[in-house]
């Protein structure tokens, strides 16, 4: 396995000094597509779901071409989400296994929230917060897909009793709210921690970003043998 660490002559502000900057590949193109498909699905699901959840948000159905189309496509998007997220899950589940340092990280959440990253332990590719989002989403999506199928009137509802459907409906909306809350956390964290989006957009992060937030991961990556053919200076 070759290292994903590269030294590049950056053209951006950081690189204006003329010194080459280190970048670290964080996500392959496939992973990024997978992520964004999932993300788009989740957003669409949240919007369409909320539109049918509260009358004051019903106007959002207009984004989909009306209430009926919203009702029709919501579950189908859910299916896409399920498989898309399953892809993410298979890619990342190992990296999201709980480690000793995650406990430490959690105990020092105050430092996390106040950006005292220097007080935090060295972390692998994901911190505990990200892992929680990962596992939370995984569980929520399974619950949502299951409860969603039960209330998918056109194909499946007739196989379930009305009370089962009612329970499913309640669970579906409750879990959907929790999933949205988790999603807000996820997105906000990405916004707050500058340089994060780049990982999901360009596929790499700066060495500094990796050093600051996921140093253990950086060390691991750096320790891998360089593949000179893919090392490149610009």
């Amino acid at each position: 396995m070759s290292s994903s660490v590269h030294t590049v002559r950056e053209t951006d502000a950081t690189a204006a000094q003329g010194a080459p900057t280190t970048t670290v590949d964080r996500y392959t193109t496939g992973a990024r597509i997978n992520h964004w498909v999932t993300a788009i699905c989740l957003v669409l699901l949240a919007i369409s779901g909320l539109a049918l959840f509260h009358p004051s948000l019903y106007f959002l159905t207009n984004l989909f071409g009306g209430g009926e189309i919203t009702r029709i496509i919501h579950p189908w998007i859910g299916v896409v989400l399920f498989f898309s997220f399953a892809g993410l899950f298979l890619r990342f589940w190992k990296l999201n296994l709980w480690k000793a340092e995650d406990g430490t990280w959690m105990r020092r959440i105050r430092d996390v929230l106040t950006a005292h990253d220097e007080n935090l332990p060295e972390l692998g590719k994901y911190n505990a917060g990200q892992k929680i989002v990962f596992w939370g989403m995984a569980i929520f999506i399974i619950i949502l897909i299951c409860s969603g199928l039960i209330i998918w009137d056109r194909y499946f509802s007739s196989y379930f009793s009305l009370d089962t459907q009612r329970v499913a409906l309640l669970i579906h909306s409750g879990i959907a709210i929790l999933a949205i809350l988790l999603w807000i956390t996820h997105v906000y964290a990405a916004i707050w921690v500058r340089g994060t989006f780049r990982g999901m957009i360009r596929g790499n992060v700066t060495g500094g970003w990796a050093w600051r937030y996921h140093r253990k991961w950086l060390r691991e990556e750096a320790a891998k043998p360089r593949d000179t053919t893919t090392s490149h200076y610009h």
Binding site: L169, L170, L181, W192, A222
Partner: protein
Amino acid sequence: MASPRAMDIVRVSATSTANADVQFKDEVVKLIDVSRCIGCKACQAACIEWNDRHEVVGTFDASYDNPTDLTPDMWTLMRFTEYENPSTGNLEWLIRKDGCMHCADPGCLKACPAPGAIVQYSNGIVDFVADNCIGCGYCVKGCPFNIPRISKTEGKAHKCTLCSDRVAVGQGPACAKACPTHAIVFGTTDEMLAHADGRITDLKSRGFDNAGLYNPPGVAGTHVMYVLHHADKPEIYAGLAKDPRISPLVQLWKGVTKYTGLAAIAGAVIVAFVHHVVNGPNRVTRSDEENARRLVDEENRT
């Protein structure tokens, strides 16, 4: 039923502002006297003809219930129950015309997410407005009587309208018109309650001590009522709900969950915003970059 009826709308689905202060006026009731019903299904035929629906020819399925359940096209259904009365040892063949009960507090309307898809008129009729219906099936879950059915072809919910179109022009529902034994009668609430009283007295005189009116308070009363020989045991009439009420699950969903859910989402956004304002962005510093480069270089050297 000589004069046209006022049909002001008093409740509208998925409309937060309305519905607080419902005032019924000139309420109507369809009274179904189960003790006079002979199960001829003329009501079913009249219903499907008047409403211009088309149900497919099914198969025999171990009972006289045909179709075997309410469907998007068959809005009323005779349900037959062979009941052996333990107190007399006699067989009774209970035949109940199933269909929308037109609850004063309609669960379907409460559950419906589409504004204006379900309305309730001042006379008590609960009506589905197909143009606004999105076919989600929430009304099915909201209904304590399991009445609405979603058409797969149209993607719309359907149920008995109490012939609101006929009632609006001063006529009774088609099923009542067709009923040969006047087991289905239609009129103002007062008229129907008085009629029911007479019927219950007659039934009691024939030994049905528990004869009574089915007008369940759990849904604030209904605009379709039954006279039952055994009003103490409505469930023997093909599972007529003994104490129907909008499911607590639906109440929870359309009540607390709806409001707290949105509040939580809004709260999360606000917390994030405040956090950002207070703490500012979490940035990577130049020394972080240098540290990283050093680390990489060290690794390269080894």
